[in-house]
Symmetry: C2
Subunit: 218 residues, 2 copies
DNA sequence: TAACTTAGTGTACTTACAACACTAACCGTG
DNA sequence: CACGGTTAGTGTTGTAAGTACACTAAGTTA
């Protein structure tokens, strides 16, 4: 690395892909842009990294500002920095993705946003509506989430503390976009030893009530 | 994202973890720092991202400058940006890792470097000799490489075009730091259908010559 | 109390992974 | 020129993980 003094410095931001499950679909939080460029299009929430703030902190702060949640799953995804990705100047953006139970969140629209809402990720309605390179960021986040859910236990992050195995299975089906075998799924999940069976069931309809489980946090 | 105008902007660099296999060990290219801070310590090669240059391009350019190679495996790793990771100011660094056959490279020391050399990654000699947070970056790169080699075919990137299966097996053993069963290894590799058997063998000693293979590039 | 709906359970088959030992071919030396 | 040394090359068997698949359990409502 040479001397620091006179290099032109780009802007550095964090962008957040905040996922939740609602209405039987995987949803992502998007903000309608109130200004040019891309006025009227939808963008991922994000903002500048403060000069004395770690990247993870910046992402956590934006998360707090946008949806009012703290202490949820949040992981760095990839850094996007093509010149020209933002017509206003050179902006390098470190993308993060987060998982939250929809019930925990309260959406707060930022000052420069016309509107903010959850958008179903796999709904074709979303096509062509995304600003900047946010389609690419979203696609990458979905890819990572799909991989991660197959090898780890992140699925639990999308559910409330107490949940049924059918609910958890549905989370997997929604994310992977394919049916999952009930018996194999239960065998696999129980075999991981990561969830605790509760002495509690939930009745929600004209059928056998389901046992509740909770995730063993490490 | 709010208005761009007056945000303080950090420096943005790329740092490279360039791996090769030499002398029966996994090696990483390090540069001895000629100036403070960390004068005399060893650092990963890297440099500023130019204002009109994509991140991948910046990494490829540094690679070309440091070891004179182009068109090799190069992948973004992670972005490190803790305030205080560089005492000279706020520097956010996008780390990349690269794999190359040692024979292809010519090390070129940069102007502000006292020296540049390959260092065996698993040699304890390296401990405490790394500048900045480069120990952390290197550890993460090794972790990624280990994962990647188990699920993909990146191993070939560390060998010349023609290689024997024993050489390839040795690459795996060196990276994973554990012995690999010869028959299972060959079964797995051949089963992947990613390498072509050549009508050529190589004799290098008082023993049966080994058949050469080459990687089928996609 | 019968019909409906979701919860919950086990077994057989297939596929991937792990362990393991001998023969083949070349070189160098006595 | 044959024998010893060295690395290349090859199959089978057991084990673990994953996949396919169908019926009973327990509650609600008409």
């Amino acid at each position: 690395m040479s001397e620091h003094s006179d290099y032109p410095r780009p802007f550095v931001t964090v962008d957040l892909v905040i996922f939740t499950i609602a209405e039987d679909a995987l949803q992502v939080l998007l903000i309608e842009r109130g200004n040019e460029p891309f006025k009227g299009k939808w963008a991922l929430p994000g903002g500048f990294v403060e000069i004395d703030e770690a990247l993870d902190e910046a992402a956590a702060r934006e998360l707090q500002e946008e949806v009012g949640v703290t202490n949820i799953f949040l992981e760095q995804l990839y850094t996007f920095g093509d010149p020209g990705r933002d017509p206003r100047g050179r902006v390098i953006s470190i993308a993060y993705y987060a998982l939250t139970d929809a019930m925990r969140t309260r959406i707060v629209a930022a000052s420069d946003a016309a509107d903010a809402r959850w958008y179903p990720v796999f709904d074709p309605e979303i096509d062509g509506q995304l600003a900047f390179d946010h389609r690419q960021i979203l696609d990458y986040a979905v890819w990572r989430l799909r991989n991660k859910i197959e090898w780890t236990t992140v699925g639990y992050e999308l559910l409330p503390v107490k949940f049924t195995l059918s609910e958890l299975q549905r989370v997997y089906e929604i994310i992977l976009q394919r049916p999952v075998d009930k018996r194999n799924f239960r065998k696999k999940i129980l075999g991981q030893g990561q969830i605790r069976e509760l002495n509690e069931t939930r009745s929600d309809g004209a059928h056998r009530p389901a046992r509740l489980y909770s995730f063993k946090k490490p």
